[in-house]
Each structure stands twice: as C-alpha cells, then as structure tokens.
C-alpha cells in the first residue's frame, strides 16, 4: 500500500515536474511583478498629474515595492471582534487562489504554458478567475461592517452584470477560431495573418469595458469607492490580508489583459508576423532594451548619491543583457545560416514572450490611463451602462459577426479579405449602438426625471 502510493507519487512527479516548477515560479515571482506594476502605476499617475511620484527608496523609487512589501508584512494584523473569523481568514486567500489558478491556463509563448493544451483553454481562464468574486463577497460579509457589506454587494452585482457582456464578446471572437484551446486561437490568427481585433472591433471594445468593470478598476471601482464606502469590502482588512486582496486585484488585471491579448491582439505573435518585408521588426525588442539602457546611462550623472549612480549603471547593464538575449536568435542566423533551425525554438520562445508581455503591458497601461482620466461612475449609471447598452450591443454583435462569417465562407474569403464582410458588420453594430443610446435618451426625456437610485447606490 505504502509502496504503491510512493510509486504513484514518483510517477506523478516524473510526468508533471515541469508544470509544478513553473507554478511554483509564478507564485514566487508574481508578488514582485505586481509590486512593480503598482510602482509603474504610481509613476504614471504622478506623470499625468505633473509630479514625480515615489523618489526616495532607490533611484527614482525603484526599490519602493520592496519597502512597501516589508511594511505590509510587519503591520499589525487586526481581525474585528465581531467578525466571522474563519470566513474572514478564508476570503482573501480565495481571491488570490482564483487569480493564481487561472494564470495556469495562459500561454505566454508557444512553449510556455503550465496547463499544456487544455481543450477548454480560454473558458478555464475566464471561469476560474470569476471565482475570485467569492473572496470579495465573503470578505465583505465576514467583516460585519456596513461599508464592507455594501462594497461586497456592489461588486457581486457588478460582476454578474458585466460577465454576460464579456462572455458574448469572447463568443464573437471565438467564432473565428472554432476552438477554445489557447494555442489554436493564436495559431488561427497567425494562419489568417490578421488579428481578431480588426475583424471584431466591437467585441474588443465590449470586452475592454467589461474587463475594467470585472476587475473593479476606475472608473468602475464602485466596490471600493473611498468617498462613499471608505474602502468597500477591504475596509476591515489590514496588513498582509489587505495586501492579498491587492495582489488578487492586480493578478486579475493581468489575467483579463492576457485573455484580451490572446483573443484579440494575436497573443505572442509579432505585429504583421506574416509579412516578410516587415521582418526587420524582429530587431525592435533588442533595440528597445538598448534604448532603455542608454537612457539609464544618460541619467547617471543626475543621481544624487554614489550608491544610486551605481544602481543606475546596474539597471543599464541588465537592459543590455536582456537586449543581447533578445538579439541573439535574430542575429545568429544572419551570421551563420546553418544555425537557423537550431535557433528557431529559442526565437519563438524569447520573442513570443516579449511580444506577449509587451501587449499585456499596453493593455494594463490603458487601464491606468483611464483611471486617471475619467471620473468615477455612479452605481445606477454603471448598471444602466451594463444592462441597457453593453449586453444588447454584444448580443447584436454576435449575430452580426456570425452572419459576416457565413458570408465570408460563401465568398471564400480569408485573412485580410475577411475585412470585406466584417467591416460592414462592425458598422451595423455601431449603428445599433447609436440606436440603443438614442432610445435610452428618449426614455429619459419621457420620464423627465433623473434615474431613480436604489438603496445600495451610496
């Protein structure tokens, strides 16, 4: 019995050591990545508000995330006396667990995917990441505080409303692939030679808005609206538990950005991967890293202390190393053509990873840009936008894209030719959107009163 069990464990490890190791790496690295995303967000916020942002810890505040992490870890851990202790303990863990688990389904490059080739790929990612809502709702309930409960209620209502729109947007994009497997989705885009964002722009827009609402980001951050609810569902959480919620929120951002990248923005494909005369774009990643390194070197004399100057040089040399790694698979075949086959998998892995992370970063940057540009919605406005505008629009769009695809197969169109049928469909969807908005306006005029706000609207 014991021997059989041991044998089974060994067999299991033999089969699955690579995914286990990758999973462990992600759990270890992700908090650091999230910390730096927060730093970047603060820097972007500072830039948009014409100030400097964190500058004290390390040059340009580069070590700020580590200082923040230390602070959060050694903070006092407070559990309210009347809280439901067990649920209070469980809730943040649930949120983080769901976020981390859904990362397992994502493919960062053609070879780098923890749960390799699952048949239901994209559904797995979307479905598991939606479970994080229980962490928010249960945390809000367990705190035994009215602000928390309000935040929890708002967030569950918001998520349920926008999940439908997001799902419909995914369906319109999936119509082009005919598969849920993440690899097949990207390969379909590489085969057609065109990203689905061009074929289904309305679906991309719907997914963009819905994904902001689902991750509780501004302008839809009603569950944690500080001017109304203190901090919403996180009000009673402090220290490490609070940082777990934070981690979950940013993990969810990464997940929705990755789903959008995979489905609409061509996953790990280079822009115009099928156009041979644009192959010089392969040098772009390396040149970008060299430029960043050069900028760091230029800034060295401006640093106030000797230590900070050395730190800048270190960052610059790190950039150069990354640039060398990125350049090697492109330059080597040019010097020695016989190496092309040997280098190909490295090229796919390294450059695929670069482009994937680049697109995900752009998507997240767009989130931040919106956050500092658009003021927060009111809760009833948010619900109306979801139910009266996005859901009808996304359902109409699914129908239109389906019709366009049938027309496309009738005329035997492929790749860029598909634009001939999908562009009219997108235009029709836009007309439908305008009609919906017009009907809304008319209804408002008829009622001649501001929308009645329900009791959890603040």
């Amino acid at each position: 019995m014991m021997n059989a069990f041991l044998q089974a464990t060994i067999d299991f490890l033999k089969l699955y050591w690579a995914p286990l190791l990758c999973g462990l790496a992600i759990v270890a690295i992700l908090p650091l990545v999230v910390g730096y995303i927060v730093l970047v967000e603060r820097k972007i916020m500072a830039d948009m508000q014409a100030r400097l942002g964190p500058m004290r810890v390390g040059p340009h505040g580069l070590l700020q995330p580590i200082a923040d992490a230390v602070k959060l870890l050694i903070k006092e851990d407070i559990i309210p006396e009347n809280a439901d202790k067990l649920v209070f303990w469980l809730a943040p863990v649930l949120s983080v667990g769901a976020g981390l688990l859904s990362l397992a389904g994502l493919a960062i490059g053609p070879a780098f995917q923890i749960a390799q080739d699952i048949n239901i790929g994209i559904l797995f990612v979307v479905g598991i990441s939606a479970l994080g809502i229980f962490g928010i709702v249960l945390g809000g309930w367990a705190s035994n505080s009215h602000y928390s409960l309000m935040g929890a209620l708002r967030s569950s209502a918001q998520l349920v409303s926008y999940e439908t729109a997001a799902g419909m947007a995914l369906v319109s994009a999936l119509l082009f692939t005919g598969s849920l497997n993440i690899k097949s989705i990207v390969e379909a885009q590489s085969k057609e030679g065109i990203w689905f964002v061009l074929l289904a722009p309305v679906a991309f827009f719907t997914y963009l808005v819905a994904s902001i609402a689902e991750t509780n980001r501004a302008p839809f951050d009603l569950p944690e609206a500080e001017s109304e609810l203190v901090a919403g569902y996180m009000t009673e959480f402090s220290g490490f538990r609070w940082s777990l919620y934070f981690l979950a929120e940013y993990t969810n951002m990464i997940v929705v950005a990755s789903v959008a990248t995979t489905l609409f923005l061509g996953g790990w494909l280079r822009p115009f991967a099928s156009v041979p005369w644009l192959n010089f774009l392969d040098f772009l990643p390396a040149l970008l890293m060299v430029a960043v390194g050069a900028y760091c070197v230029v800034r060295v004399p401006k640093q106030p202390t000797r230590v900070q100057q050395m730190f800048m040089v270190a960052v610059a040399s790190l950039c150069v190393v990354v640039a060398l790694v990125l350049a090697a698979p492109v330059v080597l075949p040019i010097i020695k053509p016989s190496l092309r086959a040997a280098v190909a998998p490295f090229y796919a892995g390294i450059h695929g990873g670069f482009w994937f992370i680049f697109k995900v970063s752009l998507y997240i940057y767009f989130f931040m840009w919106l956050r500092f540009t658009i003021p927060r919605y009111r809760f009833d406005q948010l619900m109306r936008l979801g139910w009266h505008f996005l859901i009808p629009l996304s359902i109409i769009n699914v129908l239109l894209v389906g019709v366009a695809l049938i027309a496309g197969s009738y005329f035997d169109l492929h790749g860029w030719g598909l634009l001939l049928v999908t562009t009219p469909a997108a235009v029709l969807a836009l007309v439908a959107a305008l009609l919906i908005l017009g009907a809304e306006k008319q209804r408002d005029a008829r009622q001649n009163q501001p929308a009645a706000s329900d009791f959890y609207a603040g």
């Binding site: 069990f5 439901d84 797995f124 709702v137 209620l153 569950s156």
Partner: protein
C-alpha cells in the same frame, strides 16, 4: 492508484460538505459548503475527462448561480431570519422518501453484483489520446443528435426568463 486517491478525495469532500451544508445554522456557511460541494463535483467531472462539463459546472453553478444565492442571502435580514423557524416540519415524509431512494440505489448495486452486466454498466477506460475533444463532442450531440430537445429546452428557459422580467417589472409601472 492516483486516480483512486483523487476520486475519493473529491467524493469525500463533496459528500462531507453536502452534509455540512444541510446542518449549518448560519446561511452563509451553508452557502460556502454548497460551493465546496459543487467544486468537488466539478473535480470528479475533470477526472472523468469531461473538461467541458467541469468548466460549465464552475461557470454556471459556482460563478453564476451561487453568486446570486450569496447576493440574495446578503439582502435578506439575517437577524430576523434566524429567529424564524428554519426547517419545514416534514420529518416523516422526508425519511420515507430518502429510505425509498437509498433502497433503490442499494438494489441497483446488489443486482449488478449478482448478475454482472445487468445492473450498473461495466465500463472500461479509454486511452487518453483516443478520446475526442470534449467540447466538440458536447456540441455535436447538442446540435446534431438532440437538436429538437435542445431547442425546446431553450424556448422553455426563454419563457421563464421573460416571465421573471415581466413579474419584476409589474411593481414600478411608469406613468
């Protein structure tokens, strides 16, 4: 070996949390145990290589219906609800029905043990690589073999949905 361990793990969690769900007095705890039971069932689906059923179970039951359950529980005034009688007094009927059900299940097991191939079907596991992709299989059976029942069911659901909207709308008729 590993299969058996996983099966008993999931099955044990499902049964235990189902029992806990019924016996907890706190409604939110009950909801949490119901979620655990549903997730464990999803795990068994996954073990049967029914990936599509696994994710549908999670998206629909856990991510959709249970979120609405929890939402409603939080809108209900729990302090008042706790003072009311929580259980319907149908002990004897419930006992009778559950006894009849377990007798049925026991009979099935007994008869299949007695005459192999008669009661429970004896299934042999297919090799993993020979299984057809799961979501495609589900789609084929839904939209080819059972198209009419599928459409009838969807019309039924649509009717229920419209009915719910109409009933909810009745309250605030705009002048």
């Amino acid at each position: 070996m590993l299969d058996k361990v996983l099966f008993y793990f999931f099955a044990g969690i499902a049964v235990a949390s189902a029992a806990l769900m019924v016996t907890r007095r706190n409604v939110v705890h009950g909801a949490i145990f119901l979620i655990t039971a549903l997730l464990a069932t999803a795990g068994i689906f996954l073990q049967l290589r029914a990936e599509f059923l696994f994710i549908v179970q999670i998206i629909l039951y856990v991510g959709g219906i249970m979120v609405l359950f929890v939402f409603v529980i939080m809108l209900v005034n729990l302090d008042v609800a706790l003072q009311q009688i929580q259980f319907a007094r149908q002990k004897w009927v419930a006992l009778l029905v559950s006894l009849a059900l377990s007798a049925q299940v026991a009979l099935m097991f007994w008869s299949s043990g007695k005459m192999p191939g008669q009661g429970l079907p004896v299934l042999t596991a297919a090799a993993a690589e020979r299984l057809p992709p799961n979501s495609e299989t589900v789609a084929h059976s839904l939209f080819e073999s059972y198209l009419l029942p599928f459409e009838i069911a969807s019309v039924l659901l649509l009717v229920a949905m419209i009915g719910a909207v109409v009933m909810a709308k009745k309250k605030d008729v705009t002048p």
